[in-house]
Amino acid sequence: MSVQTIAMLVKLGAFLIVLLTIIPVMVWVERRGGAMMQDRPGPNRLGPFGLLQPLADAGKFIFKEDITPSESDRLLYLLAPVLALIPAFSTFVVIPLGPTIEIAGVQVPMMVAPAETGVLLFLALASLGVYSLVIAGYASNNKYSLLGSIRASAQMISYELALTLSVVAVLLPVGSFRLDRVVEYQIDGVWNIIPQIIGFVVFLIAAFAETNRLPFDLPEAESELVAGYHTEYSAMRFACFFMAEYAAMTVLSALAVTLYLGGWHLPGVDLASMGILGVVIGAAVLLAKVGAFLFFFVWVRWSFPRFRYDQLMAIGWKGLLPLAIINLIWVAAASLAGWL
Amino acid sequence: MSVPVSWYLMLAAAMFAIGTAGALTRRNGITIFLSIELMLNSVNLTLISYSRLLDDRTGQVIVLFVLAVAAAEAAVGLALFIALYRHRRTIDVDRVNLMRW
């Protein structure tokens, strides 16, 4: 096997391990962090500081009774949780872990899939996430599920536009879809968050809406629609949706960090010249930034009330989309003027 | 072993034939529409195959336009279906026959 193939397998393994480890950590952070913000203890019975709570949650998911609604469309009902996992666990392949290193004379970029169509591949795979929502609600044979799934999917495709436009604005001065070029561009200049702060805000809000997180989680709010499109799912099937949501959050945070906060770049340190050590440090820096972002997700969740559905759609179409277009025009003008 | 381009063309022809049979056979309006999308897709495959064969990128650019046209057509066609359903409560093309002799 060639160097590239072995490297790809190693990178794939590393990414999967990190992603699968982050999910239980997020469960703990969500509940303990939320409790801290709401001035209550949170889970504190299992292990010190409730650290074994995710283990108990996993146990609960495994042992819970598996119910299938009687009149539901069986094939689609079983397919939906699997479909939820596919975009969540396949979009990380274009995120660079660290600088391109040279192994045995071959340049090995630190992305699992160093394709020319980098971010576009990310967006394409992420757009497939709508199907799990639609199918889950439809197949549950439950009017609340159907309503929740229609709302969730309409919300998701609406905010995808603003997300894509803000990504395009970042790519414009770089001149390539590849994320390692985006990071190199930010190392040469300033982090993209400074000249493109509007784009960053648009991306952030759209990311919240894409992952159905508060304040955009009306489609799955308990007081509104029971649990929206995943009402009828229990045990491991619900766990699939649950994991897919956290994985999607993580991957979108990683994309935001790579596009706007310099990815694996540590200001003042030239990681590209340090070989394997540079990759390790870069990966740790990336993980730290993504962790900060994820904490921000949790912070917003426990701080804001949720938007009503018509307000949500109005913000997406009448607020974020014009903002994203204005950002794009500003970046285009600045690129032409030579500032970016 | 490299795959000869004629295999792609055969596949595209097969998908086109399936789409045609579907468009002419089914009664559900949405399924007819899906068959038409299938035909458009097979045309895209043909264009890309010839672009590969003749080493000319024109085929790929045309596919981009076909994609956009298919999107526009889908939007208008589905709006028509919604309007039709509102008036006649059915999408069955055999029942939408007010103007037949």
């Binding site: 967006l123 | 490299s2 097969a14 890309i48 596919v63 509102r86």
Partner: protein, 188 residues
Amino acid sequence: MELAIFLIFSALAVVSALVVVTHRDPVKSTLSLVVTLFSTGVLFLLLGAPFVGVLQVLVYTGAIVVLFLFVVMLLNLQREARSEGGGRLQRVFAIAGALAFLATSGVAIWRSAAGTAVGALQQDFVSLTAFATELFDRFLLPFEIIGLLLLVAVIAAYVLARRPEGSVAAAIDEHHAGSGAGGSEVTR
């Protein structure tokens, strides 16, 4: 490797195409179309068109088919019932015609020069910069016209799917639009 990928995804494409045209349930037909379009997208990648392949997945499967699915779900389309005779001859001729087309084009492709081996993919052919140059240089006018076409389609779709004037639903929509912004005043 290329042969393996081609065989898997072309088999997938043909099987799901058959499911699209034969299945009674419109929801399953639509989902089969997703599989077909995704497989074709992969085949585009094999043929040296990565940009178009990824765009196919992003636009076609990620947006257009979702639109189809919405309409099918909103209209709550049921499974198609067994046909009531009458159209039998039409169906026989349709399938026969399709098979005839397939046979004719098959022979034509067989006899043509398409069977000759092509060289390996060159980086210049696959590169996005070259594609973009071609798109915005030779095809600039069609590109702009496509933009206009999409605008016309959006307006047409809105007009066609609008609720008819004077219906109960239209009245409710107007009520919402009028008082939506000042809705909080009602609770005061």
